[in-house]
């Protein structure tokens, strides 16, 4: 049964009398942990931001009608050619309606599903923005603004105005920032749009939209679903797209296949649509952890080195401790506790420095057109990073202290005392 108060007292005295070495060793850990916290918070913050960029505004499953050639060509109907190899040249896409058949019953059905967080309809159509004699081509999307804001962080991309303003305005339009700039328009102004069929509608600008993708912002605008239906002269059950958000993104693929089969529509899941983004996240995380672990291993070697030197200096002390009744295990514990104390002290200081660093970074302005909501560098203040950091500091110092302390345990006091 080791006598902890004595052991810790000796360890403390050793550490305090060699304060310079202690501080050097602890600073190694501090640097490692501090860099780890800074790196991992910054990198995951950035990752999160980039993920949000895609995830937030992208539906997990996008349902629409694709214009494509029909899978069964007329020749397939002839029995005579059934066993032949048929080649059909210049196939034309089949004329099908843009409208999703029974869109609203499908939405109701999807909302019943417990895996679905929400499903909302959209109407996408081409229009012209009219400025005097100039007609600018553009896209108009009819939405439920409040539901879009709730499910797809739509609010983040409205730089002026609000989803509520659009919801309440019957003839309101959320204008893309690119067009607004081109046409020198701002909130409260009026704009005329023309459908492809040539009908002209006046709309009032209730907000400015900016996605961060300049090409998109130069054409894209939003209005209420009902407004589009009126502009296009369509019925109230008209919808061209359904966006689905799930609770668990991993089932998106299976779910999309199921929907395709069940409703005879095109359903694309987010992973298929954005395959590259997950690869990027994984590799960035990998780099972060590789660099952090390298830093901590370097710190571990520093501790190993200093403890080794300390044990050589303390040979006489070790011999006298053993001669007066301290067992090898006691001596080992003395040096192990020194390593652990260095690890904890350096680790906590490292956490603190990491926190201060990330706090400073999180106040540095980071303005980018791509992300209108981001004003400073994104930092992920996750408590788990701090837990992992201190645990890693203790594990690495434990191993760095174990080998030298094992040596101290085995020192034969007789050899030291005789050697004098």
């Amino acid at each position: 049964m080791p006598n902890w108060s004595v052991i810790l007292n000796i360890a403390k005295t050793h550490l305090l009398t060699k304060i310079k070495q202690t501080v050097t060793a602890a600073l190694g850990v501090t640097f490692g942990i501090g860099a780890y916290i800074t790196l991992v918070s910054f990198m995951t913050g950035l990752n999160g931001m980039l993920d949000d960029l895609i995830l937030n505004q992208t539906p997990h499953i996008h349902i629409y009608n694709e214009i494509e050639p029909s899978k069964n060509q007329p020749i397939d109907l002839y029995d005579e050619f059934k066993n032949s190899f048929n080649v059909v040249h210049s196939i034309k896409p089949k004329l099908s309606q843009r409208k999703i058949h029974n869109a609203f019953p499908i939405i109701d059905y999807l909302k019943e599903d417990e895996n679905v967080r929400g499903a909302i309809p959209q109407i996408k159509t081409q229009i012209f923005y009219i400025a005097g004699s100039i007609e600018l081509g553009g896209n108009l999307t009819g939405i439920y603004p409040l539901e879009e804001a709730k499910l797809f962080n739509f609010k983040d991309y409205i730089i002026k105005g609000s989803p509520e303003a659009l919801q309440n305005a019957n003839n309101g339009i959320l204008l893309g920032s690119g067009i607004a700039k081109k046409m020198s328009l701002d909130i409260g102004d009026r704009i005329q749009i023309s459908t492809i069929k040539g009908h002209i509608f006046p709309l009032r600008i209730v907000g400015i939209y900016q996605s961060g993708i300049a090409d998109l912002d130069a054409i894209q605008s939003f209005v209420n679903l009902k407004t589009v239906q009126r502009i296009l002269g369509e019925a109230e059950n008209y919808a061209t797209d359904i966006n689905v958000k799930l609770h668990d993104i991993d089932i998106a693929f299976d779910m999309s296949k199921k929907i395709e089969k069940q409703f005879h529509v095109k359903a694309v899941d987010i992973n298929t649509a954005n395959a590259q983004f997950e690869t990027g996240t994984t590799i960035r995380n990998l780099i972060t952890y590789a660099v952090s672990i390298t830093l901590l291993i370097v710190a571990g070697f520093g501790i190993y080195n200093i403890l080794n030197m300390l044990i050589y200096e303390k040979m006489n002390d070790i011999a006298i401790l053993k001669a007066t009744g301290f067992s090898g295990k006691d001596v080992q514990l003395i040096f192990m506790s020194q390593a652990i104390i260095i690890g904890i002290a350096g680790g906590i200081l490292g956490l603190l420095i990491g926190f201060i660093f990330t706090s400073i970074i999180s106040t540095i302005p980071f303005a980018t057109d791509a992300l209108p909501t981001i004003e400073t560098y994104p930092i992920n203040f996750n408590v788990w990073f701090y837990v992992i950091g201190i645990v890693f500091a203790m594990i690495s110092t434990f191993f760095a202290g174990y080998l030298p302390s094992q040596k101290a345990k085995k020192i034969d006091p007789v050899q030291i005392i005789r050697g004098q």
């Binding site: 004595v6 002390d317 006298i320 001669a323 009744g325 067992s327 090898g328 007789v414 005392i417 005789r418």
Partner: protein
């Protein structure tokens, strides 16, 4: 008289660089309250014997009894405990922990034993320092006191757990005649007044002559 320490047929070999028979069939007993010294030329094996008797060296043949109990073959943990409780050590070189105060050095073995409270230990330690006339050094760092003082601190440390026997490896070897005398007188006093057993390895003939019993060694054997 009860026997404090008994060695029976102890043989020891050095294996490196060549096999060498250092201790040849050594048997002797030390009674309670006896002040004995071991004399002999350099290399006769007297220090080697002392380290075996002190239980620090376990690589030997034969049997060693402490207070009529066999200690040969005990585990290292057990031997540490025996050293802590029953054996006090005084070395030629003072071997204090130089970063600790004199008082802490004296208290350390008792803290390890942990049979008494910290207060009692401190009280005892100061008492020991007082009997050795060095209580004024209690708060000083062990590295800041003179050689003779260090040796007295080492004696105080050896006494702190009321051991059955005190062993000394040339405790006066590094001291001038004044301090040697001083240390001898302390030992003598402990032996006479407190009935403490002492076993001291020494080169110093004057020192040895004044002890109760001289064990003379030559070439690994006891000759008288």
């Amino acid at each position: 008289m009860s026997i404090v320490l008994a060695a029976k047929n102890i043989n020891k070999y050095f294996k490196k660089p060549v096999r060498f028979h250092v201790l040849k069939d050594i048997s002797f007993k030390i009674e309670k309250g006896e002040f004995s010294s071991i004399m002999g030329k350099s290399g006769c094996g007297k220090s080697t014997l002392l380290y075996i008797l002190s239980t620090m060296d376990t690589d030997y043949e034969g049997e060693l009894y402490l207070n009529d109990e066999l200690v040969t073959g005990d585990s290292r943990e057990k031997l540490s405990y025996i050293r802590n409780k029953h054996i006090g050590f005084v070395f030629q070189f003072h071997y204090l922990l130089s970063e600790f105060s004199v008082l802490e050095n004296v208290m350390l073995p008792a803290k390890k034993l942990a049979e008494r409270t910290l207060k009692e230990i401190e009280h005892n330690a100061i008492l020991q320092l007082k009997t050795l006339n060095i209580e004024h050094l209690a708060r000083k760092k062990a590295s800041q006191i003179s050689g003779g003082e260090k040796q007295r601190v080492a004696i105080a440390r050896a006494l702190i757990n009321n051991p059955s026997i005190i062993m000394g490896d040339e405790p006066t070897g590094n001291l001038d005649s004044y301090n040697s005398d001083n240390v001898f007188n302390i030992f003598k006093q402990l032996s006479d007044e407190k009935g403490l057993s002492l076993l001291v390895v020494t080169h110093d003939e004057d020192f040895a002559k004044r002890t109760d019993r001289i064990i003379t060694m030559e070439d690994g054997s006891i000759i008288s």
